[in-house]
Assembly symmetry: D2
Homo-oligomer: 297 residues x 4
């Protein structure tokens, strides 16, 4: 874990920062009001990105601020900011960047996304605290252990799928999980589960949604004779493969490619698209707005 330690060391030298994710009805003066508050309290705005959605007239902003010179403790920032937020009818999320999110990864037989996430974590690329990996198959256990991450084999047993999901969710809750990543976890989750983890559960689907939702998308794509295949990372919702899209990418295929070639080529897309979506979530760069996402860069 040398690399990760080095990355952490590197980060320690930098000033501590926090991220504010803001959303409110658009109006003149928002930027000034927020920036004025930060300046008044001694903070420095390291990065600011904003977006105004004209159709819904909503304003969105992501601010990265230095915490060290603030005249309030980081944990008190939200309440100190509340009067400004209230006046603007603003929804506020605050995250400290020195505290990585607690992440659980659910996997199945296909290991490529799991492997990639764990290697990126080890290389210091993903600011996360992997609290557990769970799978309905035992194969990934050896690999996961090699990364010193706890592994749970949670098969679908005689008690059925509901019992298995309940067991899984118990593990997630016990580990104080903040983000669930479905790394080619091939089981459909119940609407209740999806609702409880709304905005905190990312899935990778192996097609460019909304094309080829459901099972076996590469086979569907091959039958349709497409010339591009894709992968889509999205937040999970009760409706299958219909949640807000975070990231997508595509690759070209030709008539020479079989379904198996689609699968192999697709793995590269799945891996990079999922990693990109998970990184955006971990770095607090995403705001969900209805069926769409705002992903700041």
């Amino acid at each position: 874990m040398t690399n990760l330690a080095a990355a952490a060391d590197h980060r320690r030298d930098e000033p501590r920062t926090g991220v504010l994710l803001l959303r409110c009805p658009d109006a003149p003066g928002i930027v000034a009001a927020v920036a004025g508050f930060i300046a008044e309290r001694g903070g420095n705005i390291v990065d600011a990105q904003q977006h105004t959605d004209r159709s819904s007239n909503q304003f969105f902003q992501r601010l990265v601020i230095e915490l060290d010179d603030l005249d309030v403790a980081p944990e008190d920032l939200p309440s100190a900011f509340a009067p400004v937020a209230d006046a603007l009818d603003m929804t506020v999320e605050f995250h400290r960047t020195d505290r990585p999110l607690r992440v659980a990864i659910l996997a199945s037989r296909q290991e490529h996304c799991l492997i990639d996430l764990l290697h990126r974590y080890r290389a210091g690329e993903l600011p996360m605290d992997p609290v557990l990996v769970a799978s309905n198959h035992p194969e990934a256990g050896e690999l996961t252990s090699w990364f010193d991450v706890p592994f749970h084999h949670v098969p679908i047993g005689a008690e059925g799928r509901d019992a298995q999901e309940a067991h899984l969710e118990e593990l997630l809750v016990e580990a104080d999980t903040e983000l669930v990543v479905l790394a080619r976890y091939m089981q459909v989750l119940s609407p209740g589960f999806c609702d409880r983890w709304a905005g905190r559960c990312i899935n990778i689907h192996h097609s460019f949604l909304p094309a080829f939702a459901g099972s076996d998308p590469y086979r569907q794509a091959h039958a349709r004779g497409v010339k591009v295949i894709g992968a889509t990372a999205h937040y999970v919702t009760a409706e299958l493969d219909a949640g807000p899209i975070i990231a997508q990418d595509v690759g070209r295929v030709t008539h020479r490619d079989t379904v198996e070639d689609f699968v192999r080529r697709g793995r590269e897309l799945e891996v990079t698209v999922l990693a990109s979506a998970v990184a955006a979530h971990l770095e607090h760069r995403i705001i969900v707005a209805g069926d769409r996402t705002i992903v700041f860069s």
Copy 2:
């Protein structure tokens, strides 16, 4: 038209060639039988590409052969080849490359695809003989005339859509049209028309099909919150936007992009995808196999 003339001159120096598009059940010895026939008759194989579809056990081949040293006249080649083809249960198409296809372009209010095709033709990029442009709107007339291509304004009048389509088809037939290109022609064509022009009518749809078939795909795509948009060129069939796909491409979009931005970005995709599909057809590089296409390079 200097550029085109220069291109034609250039081609004149090269040996005359013909293209054979072959399809038959796969079996040992096909390549040898075909190549042997060509060699025996004095022909030289300039290029050969083949594909075997394992699932249907079909063999496909595209051959480019020099015609000048053949001991049969080009027009007699198919009949000379018939015994070989019959023995292999082979379907044969033969095209001379010194005779460009007669192409009709149907357009509507959006002119970008029409403009692009005409400029590529003028630059010597597309080996076609543009016999007419027709539109249900008059705007494209001035531009088309500038390229010395006959223009027909065929509005949907009091007699309705069927009469308009009949009028259009009459024009196509009178002009001995070999390929119809729907360059953002926004009218749905009747099943009868689609059947009569099967494999000879290319449409550009402004989404990565099968996602967002039907009308207003950019609006659909924006509502779904996709992160990539696309364009698809396909042969027209009676089922809307469901014909065999020839070419697709995609571009990235972000939350900053409005529907209008999608439209603008999409234009570049539509233009290059349609041109690529039309070029493949004009160069006799496509074989339609059921719902899919084999597009040789």
Copy 3:
């Protein structure tokens, strides 16, 4: 010109806006100081993007503000803002978005980039006022006239290249040109010219710079056996093909592609890359920082 008129009409309904491009040494409180000034004067910030370059410790910001409720006239905004700017050691550029830049396009024998820019202008995509097209060859005249843009044939005559460039520059100055676009203009410009038009002259080079600078890049690329080709739009500087890069794109090629295929494929890249760079300049989204550009989205 119906489309452009419609686009202009559409814009007229929207509130008038202005763009501020700001640059200064990074320090706490910049965002608040600027936003506070705008708010105080009654302005509304429609869009704000910022960037801090850590290596040079420079802060960059692009603000779009509504002008109508400001308590200063747009032309007086820079002087009203001067005290804030001075205190922060800030360089300020201000542009009104209702006044398109006056653009001159220099072309040569290859017309594809010229054609594309004029069509985009006509379609309302590029907010520019095309004051002239000049070429050392006469061919583009007919086309340019069709778009109602003045055309000047400025050949390299007996007096040589310096005299020709001087004549060209005279035309540019007389037309109050604000941006010069080299749309595959194949002549090397003198260092003096490059200096006088620094930051106001965009060239398209047909390679992914810095690879294959200089002449005949597609031939160089083919000889090197590359698997991707590219195009680069950059500001012109005295050193050939070494100015700050604004936009780049690439496309795949294979061993089947000849130099001529590279040229044909490259045209599509050149056209989209140049249009993208010109749009960024016209929309005041670029700040040049040394040898690099910041291109806001």
Copy 4:
């Protein structure tokens, strides 16, 4: 190693095949002569791809043939074919696809390419026999051992770089290495080594060559302000980073990306480009022609 075993099982069901890579001066009748020979000997051509380079007048062909019905043993095929080859002045390479190449991977501190190759091997994606991994750093040892591949730590010691290279090469020779993959191996190899392994040693360079050859290409690229970064896999030659290119890919970057971001983004490109080049070599799809490669699909 379950997956790989499954993949091997799967292959066992398929007919045994061999690959012929042919090259000769272009002439009429080559295709017929070769196909005729195969048919005569009872072979079936499963796939055939060809390419004629007009500038050098060379013909190249890759044939995949079924071996089981041949009336010669696979090992005798080259000598049986010799008369045909001699008559056409043809260079012939023959490979059996049921015998994976023996591959040595040289790595250094950066492990991402090594990890990716080993995982693809394990997943059955790369038909290779990994005989050893060697590195001038010890870190990769633990990981390599996990894949049951022999690891050698070959540091540059007191005897210097020549001695270290000699030691490395001894290991390669002892292991009957057929392909050397430099998976971000950061040492420059001697001209003698490069000559001895010509066409059998693949390097991944982290730029789109020929831009940014030599050391620290991401830093060079950042300083130049490029908007795309890339990776290039090529055969190693005595001239640094100048060997025949096998595969390249690029990704977009913006002014927001630091050198570190380039490095991170670049890793994904390096991994996929190297894997694609290694797969092409292992599947005998590459013919080197001077400074260029023909990579059949």
